[in-house]
């Protein structure tokens, strides 16, 4: 443990600053949250199951992937493994905030880490890059997204009960298109296409030959291994 004495600043004012700065991003999250809630309803996830999932899992992309393969009897192992794969990236987020929060008491930091999410994290890290030091900001940014997510998914579940047959509106394609939109939204550079192509090909084969929903794991691992092998690294070490 290298918590070398220096206590980190954490103020109520910082929390409010974080909350306020994250409002626009939270509105974007809320539109997706509403879609998620409606899809959850259509999938047969009950009101209380939906609320529980969004509070205790709180990781939208992985929850959507879980919904996509959510049919009874539930493929528990394959769902949990898919969630694990999509959320592995959270290790990077957690690692990156250590220098900021290391001065705080562990029993303050660890509960707070549950709220850490992609959007809140990236707003907070941008603020820190511009000189912000108050750890309350980190809590505020993540909390804003958490509130938006839980409220909008619950609301979406209620709206979802008003929609009739999803296929009549093309909504049976909603999951696929949400994943595609998230994927295209994450595009940064040409190299990204390489792991996507490998993943797509492996998932295609997996879909044809593997039982259940293991094509997700097959494609995900193949794409990620291909990226790990061939990715342009900042400082080439090996």
């Amino acid at each position: 443990m290298t918590q070398s004495g220096k206590a980190v600043e954490f103020t109520r004012n910082g929390v409010v600053r974080g909350l306020r700065t994250t409002v626009p991003v939270s509105l974007g999250v809320a539109t997706y949250g509403a879609v998620f809630g409606a899809l959850a309803n259509q999938t047969g996830v009950s009101f209380s199951e939906n609320a529980l999932m969004n509070v205790i899992v709180f990781a939208g992309a992985s929850e959507t992937a879980a919904l996509d393969i959510w049919s009874y009897p539930l493929p528990v192992l394959s769902i949990v493994f898919t969630v694990f794969l999509i959320n592995l990236r959270l290790i990077l987020l957690g690692a990156s905030v250590r220098p900021w929060l290391a001065g705080m008491k562990p029993w303050h930091v660890y509960p707070m880490l549950h709220l850490m999410n992609d959007e809140g994290w990236s707003v907070a890290m941008n603020m820190r890059r511009r000189g912000e030091r108050d750890a309350g900001v980190f809590l505020g940014c993540n909390l804003a997204v958490a509130i938006a997510w839980v409220a909008s998914t619950v609301a979406g579940h209620i709206i979802g009960s008003q929609i009739g047959d999803p296929a009549a509106y093309g909504l049976d394609f909603a999951f696929t298109l949400v994943f595609a939109a998230m994927l295209f939204g994450s595009y940064k550079e040409r190299f990204d296409l390489f792991p996507w192509a490998v993943a797509g090909f492996a998932a295609w084969i997996g879909y044809l030959v593997l039982p259940g929903t293991w094509y997700v794991v097959c494609g995900g691992l193949a794409g990620c291994l291909a990226a790990a092998r061939f990715a342009p690294l900042p400082e080439e070490t090996s």
């Binding site: 974007g28 997706y32 879609v35 009950s46 199951e49 529980l52 999932m53 205790i56 899992v57 992309a61 992985s62 996509d68 769902i79 949990v80 898919t82 694990f84 999509i86 990236r89 959270l90 290790i91 990077l92 957690g94 690692a95 250590r98 929060l101 660890y110 880490l113 850490m116 093309g170 394609f173 909603a174 999951f175 696929t176 298109l177 949400v178 994943f179 595609a180 939109a181 998230m182 994927l183 295209f184 939204g185 994450s186 990204d192 996507w196 490998v198 993943a199 797509g200 998932a203 879909y207 997700v216 494609g219 995900g220 193949a222 794409g223 990620c224 990226a227 790990a228 990715a231 070490t237």
Partner: protein
């Protein structure tokens, strides 16, 4: 609440929290190699790609045109809701035409 659903949700939550906490915990005890970091960075995209595949194989029409619309709207606007709406409308419209 269905008991297998409850079990699944609780397991999803445990796995996700452990991942959130472990990065923070690991720093200083263990260094991520650049390759491992690259693997973690590209993993979500690979999983998302895999999730898109079955619908495209099962129903290339209207799947592929809808995917193109979603891609274009997403790149232009960066708005997930609009991108989804565009793709869904494309699916609906093509089904009207093809019947």
């Amino acid at each position: 609440m269905n008991s297998s659903a409850l079990l699944t949700i609780v397991l999803m939550a445990i796995v996700t929290y452990l991942l959130r906490a472990s990065g923070y915990w690991l720093v200083g005890r263990f260094t991520l190699s650049p390759r491992l970091e690259a693997a973690l960075t590209y993993l979500p995209g690979a999983v998302l790609t895999a999730l898109v595949i079955p619908a495209i194989i099962d129903e290339p029409v209207p799947g592929i045109p809808a995917l193109l619309v979603t891609a274009i709207v997403m790149r232009r606007t960066g708005n997930l809701f609009l991108a989804l709406a565009g793709g869904v409308i494309m699916v609906w419209a093509m089904r009207q035409v093809i019947g």
